[in-house]
Symmetry: C2
Subunit: 423 residues, 2 copies
Amino acid sequence: MAPHLGQGARRTLRSAALRLDEAHASTDLRERFLLPPGVVYLDGNSLGALPVAVPAALERVVHDEWGRGLITSWNAAGWWEAPTRVGDAVGRLIGAAPGQVVVGDTTTVRLYQALRGAASLRPDARVLVTDPGSFPTDLYVAHGVAAEAGWRVELADPDQMPALLDRLSADGDPVAAVAFSHVDYRTGRLWDLAGLVAAAHRAGALAIADLCHSAGAIPVGLDEAGVDLAVGCSYKYLNGGPGSPAYLYVASRHQSVFVNPIPGWQGHARPFDMAGTYEPADGVARARTGTAPMLSLLTLEAALTAFDGVDVVAVRARSSSLTGFLRRCLELLVPGLDVVSPAADDRRGSQVCVRDQHAYGIVQALVARGVVGDFRAPDIVRLGVAAPYLTHADMLTAAEAYADVLAAGEHLDARFARRSTVT
Amino acid sequence: MAPHLGQGARRTLRSAALRLDEAHASTDLRERFLLPPGVVYLDGNSLGALPVAVPAALERVVHDEWGRGLITSWNAAGWWEAPTRVGDAVGRLIGAAPGQVVVGDTTTVRLYQALRGAASLRPDARVLVTDPGSFPTDLYVAHGVAAEAGWRVELADPDQMPALLDRLSADGDPVAAVAFSHVDYRTGRLWDLAGLVAAAHRAGALAIADLCHSAGAIPVGLDEAGVDLAVGCSYKYLNGGPGSPAYLYVASRHQSVFVNPIPGWQGHARPFDMAGTYEPADGVARARTGTAPMLSLLTLEAALTAFDGVDVVAVRARSSSLTGFLRRCLELLVPGLDVVSPAADDRRGSQVCVRDQHAYGIVQALVARGVVGDFRAPDIVRLGVAAPYLTHADMLTAAEAYADVLAAGEHLDARFARRSTVT
């Protein structure tokens, strides 16, 4: 292909992008983020961009609260309550009423707590149902806890789970929990949360959702769907910064019997009694372990203000328009691409993924052109769309770069040969 | 008592303080810390002071690495290796050769991993020996893991542990592990690490040390003592900031068989293969769970540079002199105090504690005078001495304030009546 092929289509699409950006101007929140110039950042689903509010907030935390307030800031600056206070702020974005979300620890630890908690809530069950396409940590923890709890693991794609659950239920095979990701991290497939919860409950099982790839991008509606337990990280669409702490949702109805397998003093009913015997706190605070990483946690709190006055429904509408447009641009400018993210808006998360044996080189060549996506083994080009700071014009720029990379064969360049990478 | 009683003693002690500060001038590192004016900070064993190196380092991480580098910083800025790289930096201060310490998660999680790890290393053992005076989290996790592992918990003060272990060994009662804190968080009693390890090993047990109150203040010598597993927080004498991540030490000889009960993708042998089956990484990296809180972790890395060029032996010599002098000042200015921290330098950690039924009010009245210590239920005034940023003159100032508070009865003031507090 000559590099200038498709110039007419590009002009048409550029006009369309400008019209769409005008139509969606009210949800353009780019001014709330600090992004480097000349980059189209399509990896906000690995690490969200830096919100404008963060640097000043963090400077205040470091200089005033830590440096000058020192130990008194645990009370005076509200550090002690931060895990549940920030939990409530996250809760607003995932449809959880206050008092059900606690922030701290890693997603891996939160998953471990959720699954062990399920074991204590369903002591007589024998099966765990989960998705073989889950993110690796989810699978490792699922298999690990299953071995501890004496569960058999049944694997099924989420769209096959209802049938599997009905069969297990008919067989009298008691299912402890159904654990699944709301959005598939590789394909961007958005699963039917409410349907999966209903199927789990029909089988007497708990529904455990991983929200890593939906929180902040898609209205999750945890309470409305009746989810039992949920976890997620906060460094993707919530923009909390690298490794910002994870969260755990425990539905109110389960809290009084939820057992935290990692009983730390901060989850004690009266932590400052320094009692030798563990007695869990009321509410979701019992899921606290030790001292949360306060600089990372308070950075997340500041980052969440990027959503102030914004409804996630509006973010989702913008995201659907952006990812739909990106899909269209790719299909027009790069005919024959194997786009694995669904075409239907209501089945697509906030990313557009392409399967290609040269995925690694394509991603590297795109990065060299200022279009930052990521590679997911073995063969996925993943273009994540964090709607608040991206435009339809950015989508077209990314698709043009994709077309140009392929046309010029840049993805085959030796510079972009695969090596171990971190994304 | 009249408030001016003891002026002669105070003058004599002030001269002594100045002489001692001159003699110890080479270990005065106060310029490496940002401390508020007019405060004698004796709570560095709850939250260490802000190192000078931190603000600029954190600003660089936020603006350059997160804001501009975005996802590429996982490789380009060395985020991926940070848990073990910072682990090695901590290791230098606790006598651990490189490759045995990993940083991330909370102390509670690290304790859980250590004790569960011990269960996998000693599958046939039936007893866990621990100290009833341990910090609450240690006891909660010990009892929790013991219940999971089917262990009986035997409680003993660390100085009684060797006799207990010898008896259990003689009885043929297999002990999995002996878990103890190097320094008692309430009394400041420093236990005989090498002696406890030797006693544990005689009984065929693993020695698990909690270094929260010794790391950065006392030369721990983990490798030399033959400790098997150790944990600690980094926000006390290591000055990593509020809730900075904890660390786990797994002695090299145990690493290939150490089982991480919380198997996260970052501890996988080939994390970017995104394989569905867990295979632990070589070395201590297998103890990684999920993504560490990078802002908190890199803040710790910057904070540790406050120890650059400093031997912990020198820090300890300064600390012994300071705590010994503080003890002497208190005894001279406040006769009859019940000082519970040992008089012998080699049995005292880096704190001086007083038992008093009015401890809560005394701590509050001292804080009002700019002497910040902390209260430990039910009746302990705890004065922590972070040697790098404190002087003998500070010790005298604190003791004078203590005397003045008692003389004026300030600790009985209604303003200082006990309420729930966080320290």
